[in-house]
């Protein structure tokens, strides 16, 4: 007898801390020390594309992905960027961000809150059906919500914790009832929790539902061979008139960066996605290749355990932060000339990026750092219990990876230069994450950020009792600002609050930053319109965030 389980939970994709191994070294892989000509150019996203021309119908393209995804069933699936991009072919997101970062209805027709933001009413478009013919109506949404997303073991259950129930209003309308006000709630429906799948098909497939996705999207799932290829075909009954353009898309996970680029140049694949800075700069140079870049909300960080001596003392954390020179770190990560230094989880192009936070973040000041550390070392009541005068010592963990080894050694050098003793330790990914969650560490390398509303992420990263509060940092000001953030729909006020939160967090140094991460989709020139997607009402969309693509709008001239 096997394990009798209906569905099982999976690593939640949506968290402030990006945990996938590939993500951890996203900025990695050699290539540091670009020549001066490159360094002189401004850093950040560039998009270079050929003449797009008019849409063409038909054709098949092959897409090279960074990684395979464990399952395609929301609640069970662990959607990293490479998974989201496939999901966007099969499913339609209920909500999606537009070019200005505002969350709007995509598959949904409308989404309206009540006055105190505790009830969100979603209306569906009439006449939309899943690929198996099941109508997308209020009952379908409720079944998905009750039986899958909120079911015990769903990896979205924690994310939807505040949603107490879903109530059917009429055939096409449901209301999400929340336990507390949350202005960011529609954002939850931009990712897996907002990918409606056919409840009849999922029920029929039972335990194998994750291998047989049935959505409403522009393409119909055809076949999947794990680690080899997933094929989707044009949805002839797509609810958006005139879409999609392509007849077929083949998605192929090719984990090795070099061979993925080789496959693009040799023509085995037409499209590749990457989060590696070295690959981003390589594909920029390729002839006959268009590259669509976006500076995402993803940055390399160090996390400090604010409850573990000596890092529980702010003087030590601040000293370590001041000892770092972010430009040197970016060079080791291969991002010189590509990405700017970061000071917050938001990239420069994000609406929540704050200049004030950026200016407030100081680094590369070893003098002050040494003084701060000495002050701690000579403190008779120092938190690590050592005798005054004894040097500060701690352990720094990072997963085994050539780039991360270099990174660790660089940090070690920064910190030894101000008089700290640093022991480097290589920890395999799964252990690394478990230790971070358990608070069983002193300092670790990590990545931070995700393309969604700041509220749920900042909440899980910096509040009491959250399993994802790796640094154990909490602050009454942060709690208060988070509460206001949840209750506000005004974008300017929300930006202000996020800025306040980040200023408070950064003043206490639970994390230090390195550089932002560029995500890129590179295509052979015959593939067009990767970033030109629009909402059904014509509002321009958010392009290719995190190298994810709205495939229904893409065409090929070959």
């Amino acid at each position: 007898m096997g394990l009798r389980r209906t569905r099982r939970p999976r690593l939640a994709a949506r968290m402030l801390w990006a945990l996938v191994a590939a993500g951890l070294v996203a900025a990695g892989c050699g290539g540091g020390g670009d020549d001066d000509a490159d360094a002189a150019e401004p850093t950040g996203a560039r998009t270079e594309k050929s003449e797009q021309g008019d849409p063409v119908y038909g054709g098949s393209i092959t897409v090279g992905l960074e990684a395979e995804t464990n399952s395609w069933l929301p609640g069970e699936a662990n959607f990293a960027n490479s998974g989201i991009t496939v999901a966007l072919a099969i499913y339609d997101p209920l909500m999606r961000r537009d070019a200005d970062g505002v969350v709007r209805p995509y598959l949904a027709e409308s989404m309206e809150p009540n006055d105190d933001l505790t009830e969100w009413t979603l209306t569906l478009r009439p006449g939309v059906t899943f690929h198996d013919g099941t109508p997308l109506d209020a009952q379908a949404l409720k079944t998905i919500f009750d039986d899958y997303l909120k079911a015990p073991g769903s990896n979205l259950a924690a994310d939807l914790e505040d949603v107490e129930e879903m109530v059917i209003v009429d055939d096409l309308t449901v209301t999400y009832r929340l336990a507390r006000p949350n202005s960011a709630f529609p954002d939850s429906l931009t990712l897996a929790a907002g990918y409606p799948f056919s409840p009849t098909a999922a029920a029929a497939a039972g335990e194998d539902a994750g291998a047989h996705p049935v959505g409403t999207g522009p393409f119909v799932f055809e076949s999947w061979e794990r680690d080899s290829q997933l094929v989707v075909k044009k949805n002839p009954n797509y609810w958006q008139e005139g879409l999609p353009y392509l007849d077929e898309i083949v998605f192929r996970p090719i984990p090795d960066e070099d061979t993925r680029v080789s496959s693009l140049t040799s023509g085995d694949i037409d499209v590749l996605q990457t989060l590696r800075q070295a690959t981003v700069s390589r594909v920029r140079e390729l002839d006959g290749v268009d590259s669509y870049e976006q500076l995402g909300n993803n940055t390399g960080v160090n996390i400090f355990n604010t409850t573990a001596p000596p890092l529980d003392d702010i003087r030590v954390r601040q000293a370590l932060a001041l000892a770092i020179d972010r430009e040197d770190v970016i060079e080791v990560l291969g991002g010189t000339g590509l990405v700017p230094p970061s000071s917050q989880p938001f990239g420069q192009d994000d609406p929540y990026f704050s200049e004030a936070v950026d200016e407030a973040w100081q680094d590369a000041d070893p003098e002050t750092a040494r003084e701060l550390l000495e002050e701690y070392v000579n403190d008779p009541n120092r938190s690590d219990g050592k005798a005054p005068g004894e040097p500060v010592s701690f352990r720094y963990d990072c997963p085994p990876d050539p780039t991360l080894n270099e990174l660790s050694q660089l940090y070690q050098a920064f910190w030894q230069a101000i008089g700290a003793e640093v022991e480097l330790r290589q920890v395999e990914q799964a252990t690394h994450v478990s230790e971070a969650m358990a608070g069983d560490y002193q300092a670790k390398c990590f990545r931070m950020g995700v393309d969604r509303d700041p509220y749920p992420n900042l909440k899980s990263a910096f509040t009491e009792g959250s399993a994802a509060n790796f640094t154990r940092f909490t602050h009454p000001d942060v709690d208060a600002a988070l509460e206001e953030l949840a209750a506000s729909t005004d974008i300017d006020e929300r930006k202000q609050l996020v800025e306040e939160i980040m200023l408070t967090v950064n003043e206490h140094y639970p994390v230090t930053y390195s550089g932002s991460t560029l995500a890129a989709v590179a295509v052979r020139e015959h593939v067009k319109n990767l970033d030109g997607w629009t909402f059904p009402d014509g509002t321009p969309g958010s392009g290719v965030p995190g190298a994810t693509v709205m495939w229904g709008h893409v065409w090929t001239t070959e």
Partner: protein, 319 residues
């Protein structure tokens, strides 16, 4: 029959030992599988406890092992923690891919190594021998991942004869399948053929000094006949042993090559499963690998007796 019976018993004992050790080793790995499954945001204490309960992770090791063994004996290897796919199905999907690449590599390696080794031994010390020797040492020094990148650069990027990545099932399109398998197989074969050539050369040199060969020469037999008919067979014992061991390590060697060429083989499955604490999958794959190593070694033993009548008759006499 006693030989077969002894072997069968050995097989069962080996598999029991391997599966138990794998069970112990995976339990010793730091990092809670339940936490891996849930992820930080969802990994509250109750959730973790619930998942551990569901996966029986809190039962004593021996209880879990016996439970797993009971299922395994009936052919049920459980379902993956990570993908929810039945473990048996996953292995059945991937093992043929790894075997095909491994066997193709073996065929290529032998097809090149046998003539090279023989020629090299025949003209030991000559120019050809020295060229072959230095080339094989050179190839031996290049690790398979390096070889893979070189091959991709030449055959996929520059010449564009073969695809850099991609896999088509044999049943779907045999030609495309072979095109996809060729580069991975070549990058594995290069290292092996160097070893095989060296081995065969040294054994062959010894054989060529034996009286029987001098006798054959004296009889005026053509060189080709002497080399491939009289000398090759007695010279291939070490080669046979090493080939047997190599087959056993196909999966190990395939890990890197499968990842580089994005081939859906069992090596890639194993590595991903270990890093994601998919203990069910690790357990199943380890069992299948152990079984194939034992079976291959058994087959090699049988082949010895085919190659060498002395072994065959010796056994027959005592039986």
């Amino acid at each position: 029959m006693p030989l077969l019976l002894r072997r069968a018993v050995a097989l069962v004992v080996t598999l029991l030992v391997v599966s138990f050790l794998t069970f112990c080793l995976t339990s010793l790995l730091p990092g809670d599988p339940a936490v891996q499954i849930l992820g930080p945001e969802a990994a509250t204490e109750e959730n973790v406890a619930a998942v551990r309960e569901e996966l029986r992770l809190d039962d004593p090791l021996l209880t879990r092992y016996v439970h797993w063994l009971g299922d395994a004996v009936t052919g049920d290897l459980g379902r993956s923690y990570r993908t929810n796919q039945p473990v048996g199905e996953a292995i059945a999907e991937r093992l043929p891919v790894t075997l095909e690449i491994g066997l193709l590599a073996l065929v290529i390696a032998l097809a090149v190594a046998i003539p090279l080794g023989t020629l090299s031994a025949f003209q030991a010390g000559g120019l050809l021998d020295r060229v072959i020797t230095s080339t094989t040492f050179g190839v031996l020094a290049v690790p398979s991942f390096m070889m893979a990148i070189l091959l991709i650069l030449v055959f996929a990027e520059t010449l564009q004869w073969l695809p850099a990545t991609g896999w088509t099932r044999l049943t779907e399109d045999p030609v495309e399948n072979l095109r996809g398998a060729l580069l991975p197989a070549l990058s594995l074969a290069m290292g092996e053929l160097a070893v095989y050539t060296r081995l065969l050369r040294s054994d062959m040199i010894t054989t060529l000094q034996q009286d029987s060969i001098t006798m054959a020469r004296a009889k005026g037999l053509p060189t080709r006949r002497i080399l491939f008919r009289h000398a090759l067979r007695p010279s291939s014992f070490s080669l046979m042993t090493v080939v047997g061991v190599q087959i056993g390590t196909i999966v190990g060697g395939a890990v890197i090559v499968e990842t580089l060429f994005a081939v859906p083989g069992v090596g890639r499955l194993l590595v991903d499963s270990i890093s994601q604490r998919d203990l069910m999958m690790v357990q199943g794959v380890a069992l299948v690998i152990a079984a194939s190593v034992v079976v291959v070694n058994f087959t090699v033993d049988l082949l010895y007796s085919l190659l060498d009548p002395r072994i065959r008759h010796g056994r027959a006499a005592t039986a």
